[in-house]
């Protein structure tokens, strides 16, 4: 019956999930198709010379003309996490708080299902949505071989998992905040602000001296800060991302159990 909760929310979000995936696929295909035009551009690499904070702000560090650098600056360091976070934070805030505000949650909670199982169903929905988007991007990266975007498949898998975990972390934080406050807009606002702060810290840490010690507090740092497309897996990072997800899930469960449902 937990699976029915997942099916219910997936069905009701099918249009947005599909359009997110279609939009992201089109963007990614354009990016990989453009790569041959930029792969020999020395001008591009000048952007990151001298540790420019502006370039770092857009996630551009290191060599940009390599396949990994190109995909990193155009997707994995910024755009892909941003889109996945839009999806997971949006869903996380609406799954409990939003549906409660809309008067839809009462009929679900009186089903013979514990709140823990309802939450498990909704968490699964979030993971499936993020996974669809994440795998769509990974498939486009694979297609990129046609355009000389040749990447180590293991590194792509690592980056895919890291971005997925990042999205789940923030989605679960939004879910927990929504279940705690009962307010969708509060959950979206606080989680988005937190995500923006994490992004800034992680992006600027390599080039701004005083920000550097703060990087450990940024989930972006643990997910994409070490450029998994270039450097591969860093097990400690996954452990941190997983631990945050578990902690947020526990917090969401505790808050949901206490929440008064309309």
């Amino acid at each position: 019956m937990t699976a029915e909760i997942t099916r219910y929310d997936l069905y009701n979000r099918r249009r947005s999930t599909v359009w997110y995936a279609v939009g992201m696929a089109l963007y990614m295909l354009v990016i990989v198709a453009l790569y041959p035009s930029f792969k020999h551009s020395s001008e591009l690499n000048k952007l990151t010379q001298g540790n420019s904070p502006l370039a770092a702000l857009f996630g551009a560090t290191g060599t940009l003309t390599s396949p990994a650098g190109w995909m990193n600056v155009n997707a994995y360091a910024n755009f892909l996490p941003l889109i996945i976070l839009l999806l997971t934070i949006g869903y996380g805030a609406s799954a409990i708080a939003g549906q409660n505000e809309d008067g839809m949650l009462g009929l679900l909670v009186v089903l013979p299902l514990s709140r823990r199982r309802i939450l498990a169903g909704k968490t699964t929905t979030m993971i499936v949505q993020a996974l669809i988007l994440d795998l769509t991007v990974a498939a486009c990266v694979y297609v990129g071989r046609v355009f000389q975007v040749t990447l180590d498949p293991w590194h792509v898998a690592t980056a895919t998992l890291a971005v997925l975990l990042l999205g789940i972390d923030f989605g679960l934080i939004a879910l927990a905040l929504g279940a705690t406050t009962g307010s969708r807009s509060t959950a979206i606002g606080i989680t988005s602000a937190l995500a923006a702060a994490c992004y800034l810290v992680s992006s600027l840490a390599p080039v701004v001296h005083w920000i550097r010690p703060l990087r450990f507090a940024s989930l972006f740092y643990w997910a994409v800060g070490h450029q998994p497309l270039t450097n591969g897996a860093r097990p400690g990072s996954f452990a941190v991302l997983l631990a945050v997800a578990i902690a947020a899930a526990i917090a969401a469960n505790t808050a949901f159990r206490r929440l008064d449902i309309r």
Binding site: Y11, G106, L107, V109, L113
Partner: protein, 301 residues
């Protein structure tokens, strides 16, 4: 016999607002229990406490002898619920909604569900956002009844229904009771409740005012007596009598309501040369309104 519903000192507050105040209720199985009160009296909050949608600030609620908070899953398996206000996914058709809830419950008699759809003329092939309030309400009724629950908790169930459907709904309630199941019916409409309820409770400002059978409440209801005298009589003559209330005068006519013994009143009337006396049957509406009137304007609870 284990009561279908039992609450002891059930209390719920939202910050400084006390929505339900030390409520003691007992609903026996196999009856329609009418739960009446003006808007904002605490009816919906009580229902949400019974179904563990809300958590009590103090006191306890038991359904079929099970603790409403601790055993909520077991209770939900035996309950059907129609909220006073509810929304369903806008882009789902009625049929898909019914199918989904049937799968999520895991046990629904398909033939019974289809019979309910037919009886209430539920539109199932359109998306929810295309349905009127009444048609959504009918869908809600099917959702509440389709799994043959032992206890039905219904919050303003006929809201938005036309008279034909209200009759069909009352017929469904009678069938439900005939099968030995229990209905907890919350409403602010006396007519709706007194037609079907065996027992009634009135809640006002979060507190239980009265609970009794409809027949006994009827006996307790005030009698209205209209009097005409040969010459005008001062209302104060009657106002001091025990049980007499709401005395109004209009020339040689006096109208009063009484819940007390009639002997003394009749003696006083006789002393003032009456030319006409009309006593109306006990007015249940007036009784309920008198309970309602004592309530100040409340917040929604």
């Amino acid at each position: 016999m284990t009561p279908a519903i039992e609450t002891h000192g059930l209390t719920k507050s939202f910050g400084a607002t006390l929505a339900v105040d030390r409520l003691d209720l007992r609903v026996e199985p196999g009856q329609v229990f009418g739960f009446l009160g003006p808007n904002g009296a605490g009816k919906t909050t009580t229902i949400r406490l019974l179904l563990a949608l809300h958590h009590p600030t103090a006191g306890s609620a038991r359904v079929f002898g099970l603790d409403s908070s601790r055993d909520s899953v077991a209770i939900h398996a035996r309950c059907g619920y129609l909220p006073g206000e509810f929304e369903l996914p806008r882009r789902m058709t009625g049929l898909r909604v019914l199918d989904w809830f049937a799968r999520a419950r895991g046990h629904v008699d398909q033939r019974w569900r289809d019979e309910l759809v037919e009886r209430f003329d539920v539109i199932v092939d359109r998306q929810i956002h295309e349905l009127s309030k009444g048609n959504r309400q009918k869908l809600g009724i099917v959702l509440a009844f389709m799994h043959h629950p032992e206890l039905l908790v219904l919050d303003e169930p006929t809201s938005g229904l036309d008279p034909l459907m209200q009759n069909e709904f009352q017929r469904l309630l009678r069938e439900t009771i005939a099968e030995g199941r229990t209905v907890f019916l919350s409403s602010h409409e006396l007519d709706e409740v007194q037609r079907v309820a065996d027992r009634v409770a009135i809640i006002r400002a979060g507190r239980l005012v009265v609970t009794d059978t409809v027949d006994r409440l009827r006996q307790r209801a005030p009698q209205t007596i209209e009097l005409r005298f040969a010459t005008p009589v001062a209302p104060s003559v009657f106002e001091s009598l025990g049980g007499v209330q709401r005395v109004t005068a209009d020339g040689d006519r006096i109208t009063l309501q009484t819940t007390g013994q009639l002997a003394q009143l009749l003696r006083v009337i006789a002393d003032h040369d009456p030319v006409d006396v009309v006593a109306r049957h006990a007015d249940l509406d007036e009784l309920f309104l008198s309970y309602y009137r004592q309530a100040g304007p409340g917040d929604d609870r």
